[in-house]
Symmetry: C7
Subunit: 96 residues, 7 copies
């Protein structure tokens, strides 16, 4: 079977726990090697965050469960990379 | 004969299976070494996804069949690279 | 004599054979080491494709003949590189 | 447990201490290996500064405390990277 | 004395010989190691081409003579690099 | 204690001494390893210059004193990097 | 003392000597290791050229004298780098 190596998630989270604690908790999920979180937008009730998560054989269900336990929801899965390595996308003329 | 090393596809897929499972299934196709999938656009019924697939001697028919079994369709083949290595395109003044 | 190492072509082709088969056939031309094809535009009757072809001593006539046998025509030769290596163009203020 | 490796902060600070002394004091916080500070905007009373801080196992509380002792406040945590290495975010089509 | 290592030329040429043969002939000039030619613009009578030529001790007169023998003219010399190596220009605030 | 490794300064200077002599004098300040100066703007009385200064343990006071002796003033400190190495800032979505 | 390693000059020159001969003559100045010249603009009487000159311990007076002997004038010194190596400027938010 094929392994998940990178996933980019668009996440909505409450202000509490704050971004640092939130990200630390995701990075503690089994098989996660590294996580970057960037603040996209914030309003009074939620923060919109982009998470980029890498690992050698990520378990997405565990990542999603951890996000849910922290009060967050995955708004969309923006990118996923499976296989023996991560293919970087190349821009093509059709990207327009 | 010449081998297919990379192909970039513009794919329409239903919401189910979700992007992760969809991509994992493509990555399990024979000869596929790695796949990245990016969400381009989504509406109520379909997701528009860009797939970049690499392998040493890809069988496109098998990839296309797997996409079809998952309820997706290839809207267009945006890029294909054949040969001993992948030539990266260079921008030229005629690209406009 | 000097050798052709890379050529970028703006090609018009019918929908059949499709882009993958078309590109595979070009990659099978003698002395071609690698080909990338990108879809630029398509309408009901033709596809406009950018081909980037590399080899150690390319025979352009053979490439052009193969394109013609597949029903395609070279709309323009957008870039050509000859010599002991491929010089990458540098942007200059006059490009403007 | 997972370690904090990089954090990017949007900070408001008074004019005194000036940017150099302010940054030096942050760089003296335990576990901080390196800090860059850039001036974003300044008005009569405050400076808006972007701080990028790296270390092997950063203690954010200590960084935040040092900023507070210098009269500054963290306006937002713009980016955080945890884990075995720093994942650089890749742009995705959904970034808009 | 100092040696010419790279020159970028803005050239007007007739349609015949075509770009490939034209470029091959330039690449056959003594001391030329590599040439890239890009099509900038074409109208009914002429093609406007950017030539980038490299060599260890280029003889510009020989290059210019070859262009003239092929019916072309050098519209402008856009860039020249002399010396022990090629200095790449860095953008400066005054370029703007 | 932590060391200053790079500082970027927005400087106003008179026309005399000219940019080259001015920059040479800054580069002669103790602990300065390298300086680049770029002209941003000039009017009849002053030149606006961006100075980027690197060293292993820069003494900012000495740099500022040298600028003052040459008739210049530091308009703003635009960037400062302290620590064991120079952290390059990464763009974040909040920069926008 | 500190050494000049790179200088970028905005130069006005007559059409004669042409750009190639002009650049070659500058490259023959003592201590100049390499020169690139780019055409910025030309009108009936003068050419506006950007010169980038590198060397291990450049003598600017000799460069300027050579430009003057060739009928040119230095309109502005756009960049100068002194020291043990060339610091490349980093963009900062204050660059605007």
């Amino acid at each position: 079977m094929s392994t998940l190596r990178r996933v980019a998630l668009d996440v909505l989270k409450p202000h509490d726990p704050p971004l640092l604690e939130f990200t630390e908790r995701i990075s503690a999920v089994e098989r996660v090697d590294a996580v970057s979180a960037s603040l996209i937008e914030l309003d009074q009730e939620v923060q919109n965050v982009k998470l980029t998560i890498e690992g050698e054989d990520l378990r997405y269900e565990a990542v999603e469960a951890a996000i849910g336990e922290l009060g967050g929801t995955v708004h969309s899965v923006d990118q996923a990379a499976y296989g023996e390595y991560v293919v970087e996308e190349q821009p093509t003329p059709q990207d327009g």
